[in-house]
Amino acid sequence: MDIVGPLLVQVLVTGLTLGFVYAIIALGYTMVYGVLQLINFAHSEVFVTGAVVGFEAFRILAPVALNAYLKLLIALFAAMLVAGVLNVVIERLAYRPLRGAPRLVPLITAIGVSLILQDLLKFLEGTQGRFNLVYELPTEFNSQLSLPAFVTSLGVRLSVKDILIVVIALLMLAFLNYLVNRTRVGRAIRAVAQDRTTAGLMGIDANRMIALTFLIGGALGGVGGVMFGLQFGTVNAYSGIIPGIKAFTAAVLGGIGSIPGAVLGGLVLGLLENFLGIISIFGSLFQPLSFLQAIGAEYKDIGAFLALILILMLKPQGLLGRGNTEKV
């Protein structure tokens, strides 16, 4: 009985860290959707590419005597750069030539690109005999934070990397918010999102703004990948599929095209997933709830998709979405 409190607090902590990872990935979907009304299904693989670049960065830097946080910064920048550029290349090759085509067509090429990238990643790391990439994190990141006594008495554990994930996410959010709402570039992106033709008449190069959006979206995916590596320690070529779908769900849940919506959606999903993962424990603790015992942690993913179906039925524009009046 006395384990329920600590359990729920731990679910809160782990759920929020995972939620921020989803939120960052979801922002990549939302940005691109906001401008092009395109679901960039290759975003999962852009995200995995970021995770792989992060892995390689940590692997190469492992023997180097360098400040752990500097290593993280290098890994993050490398992942942002590669994933961002990759996303721009994908847009140039697979979406731009089809811009006039019906909306189903770029969706199909997106899935094609996603499959190609999966196997490409598998091939590239496979030639080295690496299929499960294991993050060799500096030991500092795994050390536990010394928390006040009343918190530790609840059995809550918080490691440095949990804090790092939240801090990185908040910094990215602040930066994105500033960029979109307070800069000329942001205004141009928003203009293209609202009406590409009219924006063009005002002297905005729509193609450049779209490429820039893909660059930012991809960079966010790259950061998400490194955060994923921090959180779970391993990644492989197919790691992106489920988190990708979850982040997409998060984007829709919060209202696709809305930046705060993507964050809210990510957090809701992270919490929901972790809560569902432990729900069977209530079955073993409380007799009347014994039916819950059958719900193992394997069912945690169902929550995300149930939430998606519910929100699409009840509030199709998402929790924070406001129809078509405001994009990005």
């Binding site: 995972l18 299929f131 060799e136 779970f232 993962g277 432990i278």
Partner: protein, 388 residues
């Protein structure tokens, strides 16, 4: 440039000489079926390489009888669908007389059913699920112990040596992991250990919800019927979350990649295995040296098992050739000869099969990962199948 040309010429000459020789001989092919790509390729490649060494050893003996011996390696990617597709290709190649494989019971069961009507004998170096031989197929044999031997062996160790009072049982939702975990759970419950929870998971990355729950329930032992690529990630996250419980698994953990993936978290992990650690086999030293020399990587238990299985196959084929008046035997004759074999000279001792293809007496090892991430044998026991 000139030298390369000369070498190419010499190579072409040698190849054409080889093929003209082959034309005068009949070809006998032995297939291996194991994961050569994907997350479990480490174990699957060991099996193929082990079989390759056995074939090299027997090549001359077959040549003396007028046969050209060849190994053909098929990939099953540890997936039933890919495995059965490969099995169909094996059945269609009339030169293939028998198969060494597979790694995963979930693949062996459908693949052996594809091969059964074609009378292609299989000798498995790794499959432990009861159903593999319980179906009493004429073509399916294995050199390793069954789940209902392996599970209780783990259970006994958990109770007698680890003195555990509570346990949490996990499986990977494959025929292998589910079968093994069910046997362990059954044994633990029957012998007074409280099983706090039992569930399956296909997750490969995010074990956190599961770990939060396990941490709250605080079991003495966590048993996880799974393969190393999944278990390694789980153990790493388990230790990151500060859970101190002992972790134990089956022979699917028997790969150095468990330590590579879990890192220092792997220290103290226990697993039962049917593939003897090579250091425990007195006959294995020269095998290990030859393996290292041929493939430039260290031999592991499944390499030795692949070698043993291929030897069983080759001795069976030789017996069939002999009883067929030194002529090429049929697949059915090979199948019968393998089931009736009295194999000698194996790394794991001599071997006979019972009526359904189980080894009449097999040795089971309990292996522990040491703090320096090497392994040691913690216990060793002989197990026998329920049927003679």
């Amino acid at each position: 440039m000139k030298r390369i040309g000369a070498i190419t010429l010499a190579l072409v000459g040698a190849l054409s000489l080889g093929s003209s020789l082959a034309q005068t001989r009949q070809t006998i092919k032995i297939a291996t079926l194991s994961p050569l790509s994907g997350g479990q390729s480490n174990l699957g490649t060991q099996i193929r390489n082990g079989a390759q060494l056995a074939l090299n050893e027997y090549r001359q003996r077959f040549a003396n009888l007028g046969f050209n011996l060849q190994l053909v390696a098929y990939d099953d990617q540890a997936e039933p669908a890919t495995g059965t597709a490969s099995a169909r290709r094996i059945a269609a190649d009339r030169d293939i007389l028998a198969v060494v494989g597979t790694l995963n019971s979930g693949v062996a069961i459908p693949a052996s059913e594809v091969l059964a009507p074609a009378n292609v004998a299989m000798v498995s170096p790794a499959n432990t699920a009861n159903a593999v031989t319980d179906r009493a197929l004429k073509n399916m044999n294995r050199i390793v112990a069954r789940d209902d031997a392996q599970g209780p062996a783990a259970g006994r160790y958990i109770i007698q040596t680890l003195k555990a009072k509570t346990a949490y049982v996990l499986n990977d939702k494959t025929a292998y992991g589910e079968g093994l975990s069910a046997e362990v759970e059954k044994y633990l419950k029957a012998n007074g250990v409280r099983v706090l929870g039992s569930e399956g998971t296909e997750e490969k990355n995010n074990f956190q919800p599961l770990i939060i729950k396990i941490r709250a329930l605080n079991p003495d032992v966590i048993y996880f019927g799974s393969i190393y690529d999944q278990a390694g990630v789980f153990i790493k996250q388990l230790r990151d979350a500060g859970v101190k419980a002992k972790v134990m698994g089956g022979d699917g953990w028997d790969s150095t990649d468990l330590q590579r993936i879990a890192g220092s978290a792997a220290a103290g992990a226990l697993f039962t295995t049917v593939a003897a650690p090579l250091s425990e086999l007195p006959t294995a030293r020269s095998f290990a040296a030859l393996y290292k020399k041929t493939f430039n990587t260290d031999a592991q238990g499944f390499g030795a098992n692949g070698y043993d299985s291929a030897k069983v196959v080759l001795q069976g084929v030789l017996n069939a050739i002999r009883s067929n008046g030194n002529k090429l035997p049929t697949r059915a004759q090979v199948q019968t000869a393998i089931r009736g074999i009295n194999a000698t000279g194996l790394l794991s001792g001599s071997l006979r099969f019972n009526s359904v293809g189980d080894r009449q007496s097999a040795t089971m090892y309990i292996v522990e990962v040491r703090p320096n991430l090497s392994t040691r044998v913690a216990a060793e026991l002989t197990v026998e199948p329920p049927r003679r």
